[in-house]
């Protein structure tokens, strides 16, 4: 298992022409990551180059829509979970104490396991002195392999309702060939699944679009790749559709722009039909070949080693000892507060624009940004922060170099590859790779010299702010940090407290993309979920998955199709599908470039003008506010 961030200069010395592993990522969803990855893979294959496409966006894998592979084999991905032999168990409680995830509990007369909460760290097994625990596999997804023409096709799929994407990503990446160019389609954002996908890359392409949201999310993604120390460039999708701020920023930061994809309706239409852009516009092949050339020279230009100082600053910012003031006891009967969560499954469908518009139309509402990995709502709502707070999402291990005898026990027991054995420098001390550490505590529990402690990790910030439309609760997760689900739960809870205190009766939440941990945390217990989708095959595909998720949590849902007139036929298919599943259609929003122009101006589209999108969003709001009552 390759869990270390591989130095990309390894194996490239002496004119070695090992094919590249290229990871296509983006801070923001819906920027064209899959378009770029699939077209690049198909272009290279068309020139006779051995190439594999690997879809690591296991929450919403969409590459298959464009490459249309024949899947030859599927391998279930599982994590090991405990099974207790009651005959041997003495109810001593050691396993329950060792488990940091409440996945095994010892009651006075019985041991219970909760396989869905288990991270597979093996801590309970190690703790049991009676040999009463064995591990059995629990399937959480599948890694599939096939071929799309000359392209080797690999994809992972996370089962609905499962929160942990990284094991599925690791499984699918472990099958990537080493003798072919590999194009990895990463999930959006900057959290653990993205890091997992980027590990081992020779070069990263960050796809963005020239809008304020696009630039904001690009900055987060750049920070992430810089920390990992991998060479990267930026691809601008829909070039010319927004403003120049993105290009100017890249120039200032000396980040090469490796590709510009024009804002061409034919590309959007091909996408909506599930076709490769190079089939619709064959001249694009040349651009993708040039991209590949640029990436080769970027990869060989050397590694940007992350400065240790920068790493320290991000992962170990000072820890406030005091708990959150939010834990104060609140007396009195809570009054009913309704909660609307806007989600999309697929990124970039306009979820944030819709949520922000609703907030400007609603009376007595609090807005909540639950998209803590790539928060954008603040760009439109310009909040004034009233209370900043630190967020601690869990504990991570740290090794005391004075005590470490480098016996290697920790590295042997860690199942997440989070213990680094330093190859150079001071060989006497092992180090924790904080990006990989799951906080299971196995290393700390079993270190013979007691050199390892579990310290609370500060991995984000959250804020209570004022905006021109009312209060806002939002957050920012540190780059490459875990526990976004917990931060999402926290901001929702705090927003509820703000509403309670200030007399608002509605929470409007901008949810996270995907179907994993942060989304589950965004929607559980909500009064209603609005799914914003778009009339593309990917939109339809992701609607299925997100609707399954809502059904599993028994949530009331509604759907709206954004940019509905781009592909009326697909809009109808989506609406029929929603109807079949009993999800009411609450509105269509017409395509309108006012949406982008409003964003550049820092306004919601309903504030900006009275154009088609503005009118449609207002009508949608009427129906949503009726439905949620």
């Amino acid at each position: 298992m390759n869990n270390q961030v591989r130095s990309s200069s390894e194996g490239r010395r002496g004119g070695d022409v090992r094919p590249l592993r290229i990871v296509v990522a983006s801070g923001k969803g819906g920027t064209g990551k899959t378009t770029l990855a699939t077209n690049l893979a198909a272009t290279l294959a068309g020139r006779g180059m051995p190439v594999a496409y690997v879809d690591c966006d296991v929450e919403e894998p969409n590459g298959h829509i464009f490459l249309k592979p024949e899947i030859a084999a599927g391998r279930p991905v599982s994590i090991p979970v405990p099974e207790v032999d009651e005959g041997r168990c003495t109810l001593c409680g050691a396993c329950g104490t060792a488990c940091r995830y409440s996945a095994i509990v010892v009651l006075p007369k019985k041991v219970l396991t909760f396989p869905k909460l288990c991270h597979g760290c093996g801590g309970c097994l190690l703790a049991c002195r009676e040999g009463a625990i064995r591990e059995v596999p629990r399937v959480t997804g599948v890694a599939e392999r096939g071929a799309a023409g000359a392209v080797t096709f690999l994809q992972g799929r996370l089962d609905i309702g499962e929160a942990m994407a990284p094991p599925v990503i690791r499984a699918v990446l472990s099958e990537a060939p080493s003798d072919a160019a590999v194009v990895v389609d990463a999930p959006p954002g900057t959290s653990c699944p993205v890091i997992e996908s980027i590990k081992g890359a020779d070069v990263v392409v960050l796809v963005s679009e020239p809008t304020p949201f696009g630039l904001n999310d690009l900055k987060l993604a750049v920070e992430m790749v810089r920390q990992l120390g991998i060479p990267f460039g930026v691809a601008v999708n829909r070039a010319g559709s927004g403003d120049d701020a993105l290009g100017a920023w890249c120039e200032r930061e000396r980040i090469p722009i490796v590709l510009e994809v024009p804002n061409d309706r034919r590309i959007a239409q091909a996408y909506s039909r599930g076709e490769l852009a190079i089939r619709a516009l064959p001249e694009l092949e040349g651009a993708f070949l040039e991209l590949h050339g640029r990436l080769q020279s970027l990869a060989s230009s050397g590694v940007r080693v992350p400065s240790e100082a920068a790493r320290e600053r991000v992962v170990q910012s000072p820890a406030p000892e005091a708990p959150f003031p939010s834990e104060l006891v609140r007396l009195g009967r809570p009054k009913p507060i309704r909660e609307l969560v806007v989600i999309s499954g697929k990124g970039g469908t306009g979820k944030t624009s819709v949520a922000a518009s609703f907030f400007s139309l609603a009376e007595r509402a609090v807005v909540v940004d639950c998209d803590v990995d790539a928060a954008d709502l603040h760009l439109v709502l310009a909040p004034t922060v009233r209370q900043p707070h630190s967020f601690s999402g869990g504990r991570t291990a740290s090794i005391d170099p004075q005590r470490c005898t480098s016996c290697g026990t920790c590295a042997e027991l860690c199942r997440f590859g989070a213990i680094r054995v330093p190859s150079s420098g001071d060989p006497s001390c092992y180090e924790i790779d904080l990006v990989s550490c799951e906080g299971c505590g196995v290393c700390a529990d079993h270190c013979p010299s007691r050199a390892i402690s579990m310290a609370p990790s500060i991995n984000g910030e959250w804020f209570v702010s004022d905006t021109r439309h009312g209060p806002m609760v939002h957050a920012r997760l540190g780059i490459a940090q875990e526990n976004s689900g917990k931060l999402v739960s926290l901001v929702r809870k705090e927003a509820r407290a703000v509403a309670q205190a200030q007399g608002q009766d509605l929470l409007i939440c901008d949810g996270s993309p995907g179907i994993g941990c942060p989304v589950i945390a965004s929607i559980t217990g909500a009064s209603m979920v609005l799914i914003v989708t778009e009339p593309t095959l990917s939109g339809l595909h992701d609607l299925h998955r997100v609707a399954d998720l809502c059904a599993q949590f028994r949530l009331k849902a509604g759907v709206c199709v954004n940019k509905a007139d781009i592909n009326p036929e697909m809009t109808e298919r989506i609406e029929t599908e929603a109807g079949r599943r009993g999800i009411p259609l609450l509105g269509r929003i017409r395509y309108d470039d006012s949406v982008t122009r409003a964003q550049i101006r820092g306004q919601t589209v309903v504030e900006f003008d009275g154009g088609p999108a503005s009118a449609d969003v207002r009508a949608l709001w009427e129906r949503v506010s009726d439905a949620i009552r």
């Binding site: 219970l112 809570p334 309704r338 909500a526």
Partner: protein, 125 residues
Amino acid sequence: MRVAVTAAGPSLDAELDPRFGRCAWFVLIDTQDMSIEALQNESGSLGGGAGIQSAQLMARKGVQAVLTGHCGPNAHQTLTAAGIAAYVGCSGTVAQAVARFKSGELRPASSPDASSHSGMGGDHR
């Protein structure tokens, strides 16, 4: 008999907190002499598994019945395994809930009535 009520505060006149795993306090009452012990819920801020940890705490404290608003599947399973009856749908103050329990008005829940994570900030109907 030892009964636990999920509460917003550490006393008999505190409002019942409808969440089980993420309630602010557990007020433990001996129904014989109405003596109380109040425990602050340490698992309220856990990332996950708050219901399980709370149920485990109830078992360790020798509680035989829990009076609360809602109880999710993991918490319900743990309480059941520990032989603790869960009474959901309770409201009012701690003292009122205990009075209704003693008069036999309440019926234990045979299944969870809330989805997982619902105490994390959702709408309590």
